[in-house]
Structure formats: C-alpha cells, structure tokens
Amino acid sequence: MSTDAVLYDHPGPRAKARNLILTIVFGIALLGLLYWIYSRFDAKGQWAGNLWEPFTQASTWTDYILPGLLETLKAAAVAMVLSLAFGIIFAVGRLSDHWWLRIPAGVIVEFFRAVPLLLLMFFIFFGVPFLTEQPMSIFWAVVIGLTLYNGSVLAEAFRAGVYSVPRGQSEAAYAVGMRKGQVMTHILIPQAARAMLPVIVSQLVVLVKDTALGYIISYGELIQLGVNNLSANFANVVQAAIVAAIIYIIINSALTGFAGWLSRRTRRKGRAPRAAGAQIQQTTIEPGLGGGGGGAF
C-alpha cells in the first residue's frame, strides 16, 4: 500500500464532523496530559529558573555537555568503522564454501547477536582484567563491545544483501572469468551494501544509542558527563536528561535523514539492484533472516 490514505475515503460532511470532534476530544486530552505533566513539574519546583539557567551558560556546555558528546561521537565513530569491517569479514566468512570458515563464523555471529551488549561490556570491562592482569581501557571496552554486537548484526545484514543480488550477477561474473574473491569484492558486496543501506544506517543509529551503555561502566560520555556530573553540581537531573535526549534525537534524526537521502539518491540513479527492490521492504523489517539476535532495536 503506497499511501495510508487508502485506508479511508475522502471525508464527506459527516466524516469531517466526526474527525473534528475526535480532533477536539483528543486535543483536549493531550492538553490535559501536558498540563498534568506541567503541574507535576510545578509541584516539585522543576520549572525554577536556576535549574534551567545552567544551559544558558557557556561553561556548562564546554565543561560537561560538549566533552561528553565528543566522547560519545568518538566511541561511535571508531566502533562504526570497526563493526563495518567486522560485518563484511564475517558475512563473507559465513558465505564461504569452506565449512571450517563458514561454521565458526556462523557460531560467532549468532552468539554475539544473542548476548545482551551490556553483559558483553561487563565481561570485557570487569572480567577481562582478571585474565590479562592489567586494567582494561574503558574506551576500548565500550568500542569492542559495540563492535562485536553491531558487527554481528551488520554481518547478517550484508549476508541478506548478498542473497538479494540477482543470481545472474555472480553467474555473469564467473562467466567472464572472475575468481570467487573477485566476484565477492567487485560484484556482490557493493550491490549488497547498496541494497541493505537502510538496514545498515539504522544499525548505525543503534550503535550511537548503544554508546550510552558506556555510562553504566562509567565511560565519560554524554550521559555520564552531561547528565550525571552536570546534575550533581546543579541538582537538575530532569532538565539535564531532557537536554541530553534532545541532543541524541538530533544526531539520530540527522543520521536517519541522511540514510533516506542516500537511498533515494541511489534508487533514482538505478544503482540499487532492481530485483532486490521488492525485497528491500521486507529486509528493512527483518535483517536477520530469522536468526536469533534481532536487528536494529
């Protein structure tokens, strides 16, 4: 169904009246909810100017929020690059003709997709130092955790993408004498990456959000510095959390918007594989081919 408007007729006079009534009723309910929130805040004195004022001072931003944001983006950027590499390597591994490559790659991907990221980070940060007998860098604990989990999800996305490339593509490549590796790197992976672009970018959004888990092992990212430390000084935890949430929403909306722009652009030029067009809809819903982990959430 291309538009939601197919679900209902163009409203006639009665439907218009009904919609108007619904609009008013729900509008009032919504205003009531907003007022309830407002009064709840008011009763606890959360609108007091001194709680919001820190956000108008430059030092709040330069001392807490921006350094935190920088750490968040740093971890996210490094983990993005590493997990894309991890994803491609393990997708190719799982598609290999050799069982001794395919099976270990499959086990690793399925395992890391099924294990909660927080559990993984706890193991890397608290457990690994017992094994290596030296302290674990907190930055790398976050990045390695993010890479193992998101890389595994991306590996499944790439694999689904490779399956969505029409068979004729690889057959033609073999026919002109390419080797297996060449077919993969020159023919399949580039097309798979384009077909799965929406999934890949939504996984990158997940990655940005998951850097917040670093807060739990006290990595100095946006929530740690911009919410926890800031509110320790100004006693404005609600306000700081709202500001941090807005920052996350802006970053992730920008990433999602970028993905939409990119996929419109590749589709217009006919670069995305045509036969995959119908499947893209489905694969955006389910990147994992029914595997254990669950993708972009």
């Binding site: 169904m1 679900l7 619904l22 729900f26 559990l119 929530i223 489905q282 982990g293 669950g294």
Partner: protein, 224 residues
C-alpha cells in the same frame, strides 16, 4: 563450574534471570498494547492522532534506552516522586517496565505500520467499496493480514526487549548482568565459565526463539 555449585551463587544467577523473564513479559505486553494503539493512531484520518504517534516514535526511537531508564528512576521517581511500589526492588522493576514499554512501543508501532504497508491497496479499497468504516477496514481486513506479516519483526523486537531488559540493572535491580558482575568480582579465577554460563543462557534461549519466529513467520506468511 565450581562457582555455580555454591547455592548462594546459583541463587544470584536464578534471581537475575527471573527478573529478566518478568521484565520481558511485562514489558512485552505493555509495548504490544501501546504499539498497536500508536500504529492505529499513525494511520488514522485524524491529524492530531497522527502527529502524536509520529512524535512518540521519533522521540523514543532516537533516545538511548539507558537514558530513558535513567530518567524513569532519577526523573520520575527521585525528582518527581512518582512511586509505584513500597518495595524498592519492585518499584525499580515497574519503573524499568515503564521505560522498556514506552521505548519498545515505538518499534512495535513502526513494525505494524510497515506490516500494514505490505497489504495491497486493493484490499482496503475493496473493503471501503462494500461500505466498511475505517475501524472495520482496519480490524477485519487490514490488521489480520498485516499481523501475519509482522510476526518476524515482532519476534526480533521481543528478543531485543529481552536483551534490553538487562539495562534496568542501571537503576539497581539485580538482574542477570549485575548478577554476572557481582559473581565476576567475587570469583576472579572463574571469569570465563561465569561469562559463558550467563551469555550461554541468553544464547540458548534466544537463538532458538529467533528461528522459531522465523519458521512461524514463513508458515503464516500471506502467499501472494
């Protein structure tokens, strides 16, 4: 495996996973109900409802769950005095369930909406042509077909919800990730077995669940 032969440690392990199970169930029910309502709002003819649904999805889908859970505790509970139970664990549990529900509902809503988009336009047009109202079209014709298309994504969301419920450990609930942390700190010599048991429990439960949902989705798929 010596660590788990100690009944105290086994207790920590079992309690941790019981919390995860309870949060998955409660959060799943909450998210499903909320998500269906939000999806209905997003396809409804009333602009205010559509706007509300869209705003909800964009806000909660783009905010880290850690921040939402954090806000549920430090915002709702500590600052605004929004208490749900006298028992501290139970209170944290319900705060966590609220956070998980409002977050996951955004994904449920989007999954159902894309499920609705897989139903061919002709189905809705035919339903309207024989005079069905919006609610009849949605509940008798569209949602039953969409429901079968969304089994796989809803399965993934449920699995993600189960894994995400470890995050409620941030606000002090002794769920499995905190349980693992405690056991690791107390038993530095058995780090790998402890991790493998905890991670393995998730893997053993969740990987088959994923395949089961995939199988079910294939079986119930609307053949077109």
């Amino acid at each position: 495996m010596d660590v788990f032969s100690d009944p105290l440690n086994r207790d920590v392990y079992i309690t941790g996973f019981l919390w995860i199970l309870k949060m998955t169930l409660a959060g799943g029910v909450g998210a499903l109900l909320l998500g269906v309502v939000l999806a209905a709002m997003r396809v409804s003819p009333v602009p205010v409802l559509r706007g509300f649904g869209t705003a909800w999805v964009n806000i909660f889908r783009n905010t880290p769950l850690t921040l939402i859970i954090f806000f549920c505790y430090f915002g709702l509970f500590t600052t605004l005095g929004f208490s749900l139970a006298d028992d501290i664990d139970l209170n944290n549990f319900w705060l966590g369930v609220i956070g998980l529900s409002v977050y996951t509902a955004a994904f449920v809503c989007e999954a159902i909406r894309s499920g609705i988009n897989t139903v061919p336009a002709g189905q809705a047009e035919a339903a309207r042509a024989i005079g069905m109202t919006f609610f009849q079209t949605l509940s008798i014709v569209i949602l039953p077909q969409a429901g079968r298309a969304v089994i796989a994504p809803l399965g993934s969301i449920l699995i993600a919800l189960c894994k995400n419920s470890t995050i409620v450990g941030t606000i002090g609930l002794m769920e499995s990730s905190n349980a693992m942390k405690e056991l690791i700190n107390a038993n530095g010599d058995a780090v790998i077995p402890i991790f493998l048991v905890f991670a393995g429990t998730f893997a053993v439960v969740l990987i088959p669940t994923g395949y089961a949902f995939g199988w079910l989705a294939n079986r119930l798929a609307v053949k077109r």
